[in-house]
């Protein structure tokens, strides 16, 4: 398939978030599904336009937190009660209230690590190479320009048609993205 489709997609550039969001709506209404949009900062309306709601991430982080709690409890209990019991002032070995600070810290630590690595993992980062960077002007995507890229894998993708369609959205520029 790759040889039949020599390009990654076609990309349109916008210089303000309003036209960018309108373009995402238009691309969606035109029936394209395989596309992505790029902005120099989070644009809530763009996420809505792309139909992104919720995320699995909070659930994954919850699991991370619970794992941390269980790990902390198991560690404190097994070391303090089973493996290395210390008699300190005759107090009970399993004094769970005294474990609370450690349990809390373990919960937060595991949850935070899960949040960061979960986010990176779901986003497919770190990524060594991505075709969008082949477009020279894409360097502005981290500064002041907004991009919509319709990818060649979309069933509706026809190089010239798609180009013409993106032109009709009055972007600053339209360019082919080499794969």
């Amino acid at each position: 398939m790759q040889s039949v489709v020599p390009v990654h997609g076609v990309m349109a550039e916008f210089d303000n978030p309003s036209e960018f969001v309108a373009a995402i709506h238009a691309v969606k209404e035109a029936g394209y599904e395989g596309f992505d949009a790029y902005s120099p900062m989070p644009v809530e309306e763009a996420a809505e336009a792309m139909g992104l709601h919720g995320s699995r991430l909070p659930l994954i982080v919850l699991c991370g937190g619970i794992t941390g709690f269980c790990f902390g409890y198991a560690l404190a209990y097994w070391t303090g009660v089973i493996n290395y019991p210390l008699n300190i002032g005759g107090r009970p070995l399993h004094s769970w209230p005294a474990y609370i600070p450690v349990l809390f810290e373990c919960t937060v630590l595991f949850a935070a690590l899960t949040a960061v690595f979960g986010m990176l993992g779901l986003n497919g980062l770190p990524q060594h190479y991505h075709p969008v960077f082949n477009v020279e002007r894409f360097a502005l995507a981290s500064k002041n320009r907004f991009f919509v890229c319709i990818e060649a894998t979309d069933p509706k993708f026809e190089l010239e048609d798609t180009k013409r369609f993106l032109q009709s959205l009055t972007p600053v520029a339209v360019s082919e993205v080499e794969s």
Binding site: N16, P17, S18, V21, A22, I24, D36, A37, Y38, S39, P40, M41, P42, V43, E44, E45, A46, M50, L52, S55, L57, P58, L75, A76, T79, G80, N83, Y84, I88, R91, S95, A98, Y99, P101, V102, E105, C106, V108, L109, A111, A112, A115, V116, M119, L120, N123, L125, P126, Q127, H128, Y129, H130, V132, F133, A139, L140, A141, S142, K143, N144
Partner: protein, 459 residues
Amino acid sequence: MAAPVQARQRPYKPPVLGRGQTFDTVTDKIASVVDRQEQPRGWWIAFTVGFALLNVLLIAVAWLFARGTGIWGVNNPVGWAFAIINFVWWIGIGHAGTLISAILLLLRQDWRTSINRFAEAMTLFAVACAGIFPIIHTGRPWLAYWLLPYPGTMMVWPNFRSPLVWDVFAVSTYATVSALFWFVGLIPDLATLRDRATTPVSARIYGALALGWRGSVRHWHRYETAYLLLAGLSTPLVISVHSVVSFDFAVAVVPGWHATIFPPYFVAGAIYAGFAMVLTIAIPLRRMYDIKDFITAQHLDYMARVMLATGLMVCYGYLTEAFYAFYSANTFEEFMMQNRMFGPYTAIYWLLILCNGISIQTLWFERVRRSPVVLFVVCMFVNVGMWLERFVIVVTSMHRDFMPSSWFMYYPTVWDIATFVGTIGLFLTLLFLFIRFLPMISMFEMRTLVPAAEVKEEH
């Protein structure tokens, strides 16, 4: 012509960004500090001073490793002294960074945007300075890993019922989560630096650190979720850290330490000290790099208000301590307070009250809060005052506790002072290297504040 849309009634919010800013001006202004080769003279002065003091730290620590903690002024009743004073002081300073980045994010305070990045960096470097002290205070720092629970051939485990073990967990978790939070915030800005890089080497370094970030809307969506989750996790974490630090004292039975007021009193003190340090850094920086459009007088005003509020809480803590000593009808508590106020360290106690109790009363006046120079002076008072507070808590309680036969005075040696001053050098060195190589203000968050960022949707 369409009728003007009636704006929803909202409480008046003063602007937190100078006029006429665009995506370009915001990005160029912040990134140019990193891009350009020449740094202002202020940078060189601060870095040189910091680096010189860092060498003092290296010498002090090398001599300590050679000779042991005997080179310090610690003695039998006063076994904690400078090492713990400095530890608590530094870790408290770190708290403002997390408060600004996490709690103010959750409270939707826009003004945090231009100060959160360097405040978080300040947190990390302050925690690094703090972490040195308990480790070198162990006497045999090369065995500091014994503090961690690890399966070893000695088959010994830490006691999880001990506040000192809680402290290890709290501080290491805090350091890790702060670093993660800071790095996650940096990823999109590192991508900006990668895209602006003029030399292949910097493009490679920033490129590797940016992890291939390309600003996809799908990525931003998860990114924002993760950022909020981290803020939600950091909020109780930052409260817990200084609470746990205070347990080191409060769980002991020493007069003046064994009090339930300690956790909230320590947390308020930490935020207070931290905001003073943020201002101590922000006021010279905004002048040095001419970023008064980003860190406006309004920012100084807000931070000063936080300082005033937390400072008053700290003062309430002082009053409570004195009241508790009297109301407990406990001879030792009563003596501790009387000794603290009028004993051999009386000057330090009253200096503390001057710095933390009286100097901040000037912050009731808006003119003081908006005057960088006066505010800077007040912050210096607070920085000193918070250090004195820890000195008072640590030393006056220990040097005369229950048994008069074990009373003893504590005086710092030159090595105590060299180590403390040295960590200030470490802090300054790290801070100014950070300013040189990483964007000190979050560029992508600043872009969300410029007027052009508003999406006008036609419906």
